[in-house]
């Protein structure tokens, strides 16, 4: 049966209420504090290394993210841990807590569709992440200016913004997954654990599994180069099913201007290439384009899955 009236009605009200909730919640305060402390530590150690090479590197502000110094890992490593954690914390009880507080039927009895509620919550989560990431990026860039004594070039700013965009898409994946589980499971603890389990699976086990599976499907029997190439390609294909791989590859392309390929490259393909010369930012974006679109598509699929489940759910507690 066709329903009349816009599904967007009331989305603004939901969005701003959820955004206010997120920004003032203790949960976010803890995670933000943690993220900023880690950012400060990582940047301080990175600048200590970088001050020695300031004059030589044209992309010093990108190095701020990627440089590590024993025993501390780089800022990107911290971010890879904290982004999924924050996204999950924002969304794991998005819908089931409304059920448990018995506010769902009251809110849905207002002149809005369910679409507005779910999408409003999702967008508010994304906006919260965007605010946090933008603040983080500005903080790091500011610290870099202060400690290194140079200002970022236009090229570096463009790459920095792309980095923000990619991180937001990556956060969206975990946000969508957590929200989907919050529709599926009535207990917030269950949905939180389920999302964390998926995250752990991809973070820890997926690389091991892809190796084993690639070896099983494309075994190297005679040691030909073609066999080896096929195995590597299979492994790469499997590992790209994980959002973590996609995100890592996007960052690799965007934060390393010298990166020219995201897979195996044959010697013959390198003929005539001047090694180590940086690509313009737009070419780096083209290099990472499939991965970026892959992440965005994952976000949309996860949201659609959550949406369908939510539409079919009974309102009564």
């Amino acid at each position: 049966m066709r329903r009349e009236g816009s599904p967007w009605t009331g989305i603004g009200a939901v969005f701003f209420k959820e955004l206010a909730d997120h920004l003032s919640s203790t949960r976010m305060l803890i995670l933000e504090g943690l993220t900023f402390i880690m950012a400060l530590i990582a940047v301080f150690t990175a600048t200590q290394t970088l001050t020695q090479t300031v004059g030589e590197d044209p992309f010093i502000f990108l190095k701020l993210f990627t440089t590590d110094r024993d025993p501390l890992p780089s800022f990107l490593f911290f971010l890879g841990l904290l982004i999924p954690l924050t996204a999950i914390a924002l969304a794991f009880d998005a819908v089931n807590s409304e059920h448990n507080r018995r506010t769902l039927s009251r809110v849905l009895a207002q002149p809005i569709y369910r679409d507005a509620l779910l999408l409003g919550k999702f967008l508010a989560g994304l906006a919260t992440m965007a605010i946090m990431l933008a603040a983080l990026w500005l903080l790091i860039t500011g610290l870099g200016i202060f400690r290194l004594g140079v200002v970022p070039s236009g090229e570096e700013v463009a790459r920095g913004l792309l980095f923000l965009l990619a991180t937001l898409a990556y956060a969206g994946v975990w946000l969508g997954l957590a929200m989907g589980f919050s529709v599926l499971y009535r207990q917030p603890a269950t949905s939180a654990l389920a999302t964390l389990a998926v995250w752990l699976f991809f973070a820890v086990f997926w690389n091991i599994i892809t190796q084993i599976v690639a070896q099983a499907i494309r075994p190297i029997e005679y040691g030909f180069q073609e066999e080896q190439l096929r195995q590597i390609q299979m492994q790469l294909f499997l590992s790209r099913l994980s959002p973590n791989t996609l995100y890592t590859e996007v960052l690799l392309a965007i934060l390393n201007p010298a990166q020219r390929a995201l897979g195996p490259v044959l010697v013959t393909q390198l003929e005539g290439a001047i090694m180590g010369t940086p690509l313009p930012w737009f070419d780096s974006l083209l290099l990472a384009w499939p991965q970026l679109i892959g992440m965005v598509a994952t976000v949309i699929l996860l949201f659609a899955w959550a949406y369908v489940n939510f539409q079919r759910q009974e309102v009564r507690a």
């Binding site: 009251r106 009895a109 002149p111």
Partner: protein, 311 residues
């Protein structure tokens, strides 16, 4: 008189379970209608279908002339709903909770402020409007729920088990508020299984059983239908041998002797004068004679436990 809520053969299946079965319900302008029935008899499902929150399997509903399955937003804009076991955002104040609902209804900022103050005062919550709802008692939450219903100035109010879990005084207070709504011209649909409360405020009632409305009408007509006689007379005498005299009185349908002194009669008309005359003529001292209003409790018990509707 035009129908405010009207359902035709409204039916809802949950898998093999029939929650609502061919329901035909009509609510007129300005009336308070009570939906009665045991838990799980389909009251809440009916309400959800009236609000467009559940899709009917077959049949049709019309609320204020609008089909809630097709144009739910319009229905929800004009109908206030207080769910059973209502919940609020506990870490927000009453004002903030109402503010969210007002924004969802698209009210302007000034309008929100004005109406919020207004409805909170009306529900007696003005003093605690800046307190977190988490600190509220059950009765206060229920009144806040009613404040929220009034916030959007609806034409119809649907209240699902509004007095459940309230102490007698709070429940009484709440019923008084419902009567106020009626005075304002709102149509109220009230669902409950607490019969004496429904009887106190409702113009008409409908008895639900297994998704069907088995009885409908005013309390008096129901009593007529189910109890056989609408008049119940209690007679207190000190003496014996009155059985034949009483049952022989014109209009008396049934005589039961409760103990040595008390008789209970069911009659089609108010025949107290005739009974008094006959008792006195028989020479038996008459101690008291009173007319009792039939209670909905009695109707309900008699109807559902009379063997017709054994589960």
């Amino acid at each position: 008189m035009s129908a405010v809520i009207e359902t035709t053969n409204l039916t809802k299946h949950y898998g093999p379970v029939v929650a609502v079965d061919n329901l035909n319900l009509t609510l007129q302008e300005g009336e308070v209608f009570g939906l009665l029935g045991p838990n799980g008899s389909g009251k809440t499902t009916t309400i959800l279908m009236l609000l467009g929150l559940a899709e009917p399997t077959s049949g049709e509903a019309r609320v204020l002339g609008v089909d809630p399955a097709r144009r739910p937003l319009e229905v929800k804009r004009r109908v206030g709903y207080l769910p059973d076991s209502v919940g609020f955002y506990d870490d927000l104040t009453a004002t903030e909770n109402l503010g969210y609902i007002a924004r969802l209804n698209g009210l302007s900022w000034q309008e929100t402020g004005r109406r919020t103050v207004d409805v909170l005062a009306r529900m007696g919550l003005a003093d605690v409007s800046e307190r977190r709802v988490g600190t509220y008692s059950r009765g206060m939450r229920q009144r806040l729920g009613l404040a929220e219903v009034l916030l959007k100035q609806p034409q119809v109010a649907i209240l699902d088990e509004p007095t459940l879990g309230l102490d007698p005084e709070a429940a009484h207070e709440f019923l008084r508020l419902i009567l106020d709504l009626k005075r304002d011209g709102l149509v109220v649909l009230l669902s409950s299984h607490l019969l004496h409360q429904v009887q106190a405020v409702c113009d008409r009632v409908g008895l639900f059983h297994k998704g069907q409305m088995v009885l409908e009408g005013t309390v008096e007509t129901l009593a007529d239908q189910v109890l056989g006689g609408a008049y119940r007379i209690k007679l207190e005498v000190s003496g014996d041998g009155l059985g034949d005299t009483l049952s022989g009185t014109p209009g008396v349908v049934n005589v039961t002797r409760e103990d040595a002194r008390i008789y209970r009669l069911e009659a089609k008309s108010d025949c107290r004068a005739e009974i008094a005359r006959r008792v006195v003529a028989k020479g038996v001292p008459l101690l008291s004679l009173s007319l009792e209003r039939p209670s909905l409790d009695e109707v309900y018990t008699r109807h559902f436990h009379g063997g017709q509707y054994e589960a």
